[in-house]
């Protein structure tokens, strides 16, 4: 079964490591796996995860008046999501699963 969109987004962020990833890039990663309508709450999910301290905002930029944010998964939450959300399975499900050695390296660093 597909992971929930929220967990897939966490998977993308987990794979992106401490360098983080722009929110539109997260959307791009998930676009090939989920229908567009299912991805509509994505921005909301990211803001909520930021509110509870799962995500750090690394950078913000202005695109035609829209606020865009670059997020990174907070270090302290990485081991938690890895166990609780079976995040390795989620990352394997994502399109860019093959070329992401950074994820494992980031995990060991903690």
């Amino acid at each position: 079964m597909k992971p929930a969109v929220k967990y897939a987004a966490v998977g993308v962020l987990y794979a992106a490591g401490p360098e983080g990833i722009w929110e539109h890039e997260i959307y791009g990663e998930l676009r090939s796996r989920y229908p567009r309508s299912a991805l509509q709450p994505l921005r909301e999910d990211l803001v909520s995860m930021r509110t509870v301290g799962w995500l750090r905002i690394l950078q913000e930029s202005d695109h035609h008046g829209q606020l865009l944010r670059k997020y990174a998964l907070a270090d302290h939450i990485r081991p938690f999501v890895r166990y609780q959300l079976h995040i390795d399975d989620v990352v394997a499900f994502l399109p860019g699963a093959g070329g992401r050695p950074a994820a494992g390296a980031g995990e060991r660093r903690i």
Binding site: Y7, E60, G65, L67, R69
Partner: protein
């Protein structure tokens, strides 16, 4: 105005956007209040009438298991269908974290059952305002576990206000409570158990909406309560079978059940899902709790025909003001409190 927005630094705009979202969550939590007042006010009125009066506290159990929760599950299910989030409801099961659903639904079931039992003993007009304090208990638990600072002078002033408010409400108990003496005391103790359970539940819902796709999580919380409540009731309370037969063959009671269950579902969706997810367990929880339960007392002594008592209204208004003090803070603090 738009040029002013562009000139502001991005971090400032981001902070304002987050603060606005928190405020929206608080407004949704408050707007949910009348729905809960309508629902649980009606429940409080029905719980002391046939067929639920055949045996207590089985009657209170039956009204929760047969009317409130089934229609609540249906209401939240419709919300999932309409919002398109039903796909995620199935997907959130299977991870270790999904056990949290069971934990939350057991807590919710105990709280709901205690409320119904208490409403049978002391009536909704009294049980409502006291039960509403669960928001404050939840805020304190959430603030400790989430390390969210709420201890300011305004919090202390708010807590004093709540204390005075509850004192005034209790003084109205002689007028609105259907029982007196030891039964009234037991009813008050049971509603205190409910508010402590719900208080923890408030934190559990906050954590759950953070951990899981919130809509699906809310549905599982209600659905598992439905299963637990019905299994326990039919297994251990034989009278409930008679009550179930009467309830499900009486179109009037089923309609009442729809009002109770859908009203409860609206409060869960607006207060818990939107209110807590947007404004956090402290601000969303306090407002959803205090306002929702104020309206139970308010509707009980107005539309549902419990004897009118100014003490309930005055006490609830003071509690209101107290709750507002607890959640009020300068806009600059609203955005980045958690984390």
């Amino acid at each position: 105005m738009s040029t002013g927005m562009v000139e502001r630094p991005l971090t400032e705009r981001s902070r304002i956007a987050d603060g606005k979202k928190t405020r929206m969550g608080m407004i949704y939590a408050m707007l949910a209040g009348p729905a809960l007042g309508l629902a649980l006010g009606l429940l409080s009125t029905l719980v002391s009438k046939p067929p639920f009066s055949l045996q207590q506290p089985t009657g209170a159990f039956a009204i929760v298991a047969l009317l409130q929760v089934p229609f609540g599950v249906l209401g939240i299910g419709v919300f999932l269908l309409v919002s398109g989030t039903w796909r995620d409801a199935g997907r959130l099961i299977g991870h270790p974290v999904s056990w949290w659903n069971l934990f939350v639904s057991v807590g919710g079931f105990v709280g709901d059952l205690c409320y119904a039992v208490s409403a049978a003993l002391i009536g909704g007009a009294l049980a409502g305002p006291i039960g509403g304090l669960f928001g404050v208990v939840g805020a304190i638990i959430t603030s400790i576990l989430y390390r969210e600072k709420i201890l300011r002078w305004s919090t202390l002033a708010g807590l004093i206000g709540l204390g005075i408010g509850i004192w005034v409400v209790l003084s109205g108990g002689k007028v609105v409570s259907p029982t007196h003496g030891v039964y009234e005391l037991v009813g008050i103790i049971v509603i205190i158990v409910a508010l402590l359970t719900w208080g923890f539940e408030n934190f559990a819902i906050t954590a759950g909406t953070d951990l899981m796709p919130a809509e699906g999580f809310i549905w599982w919380r209600a659905f598992l309560e439905l299963v637990i409540a019905n299994v326990l009731m039919f297994a251990f309370f034989p009278v409930a079978r008679t009550m179930a037969g009467r309830v499900w063959t009486d179109p009037r009671l089923i309609t009442y059940g729809a009002v109770i269950g859908f009203g409860w579902a609206i409060w869960i969706i607006m207060g818990y899902y939107i209110g807590i997810a947007y404004a956090g367990g402290v601000r969303g929880g306090v407002l959803a709790g205090t306002f929702g339960f104020f309206f139970i007392g308010f509707f009980s002594i107005t539309v549902y025909g419990v004897p009118f008592s100014p003490a309930i209204i005055i006490g609830s208004a003071v509690m209101f003001a107290g709750a507002a003090f607890i959640v009020s803070e300068p806009g600059a603090y609203l955005a980045r409190k958690r984390g």
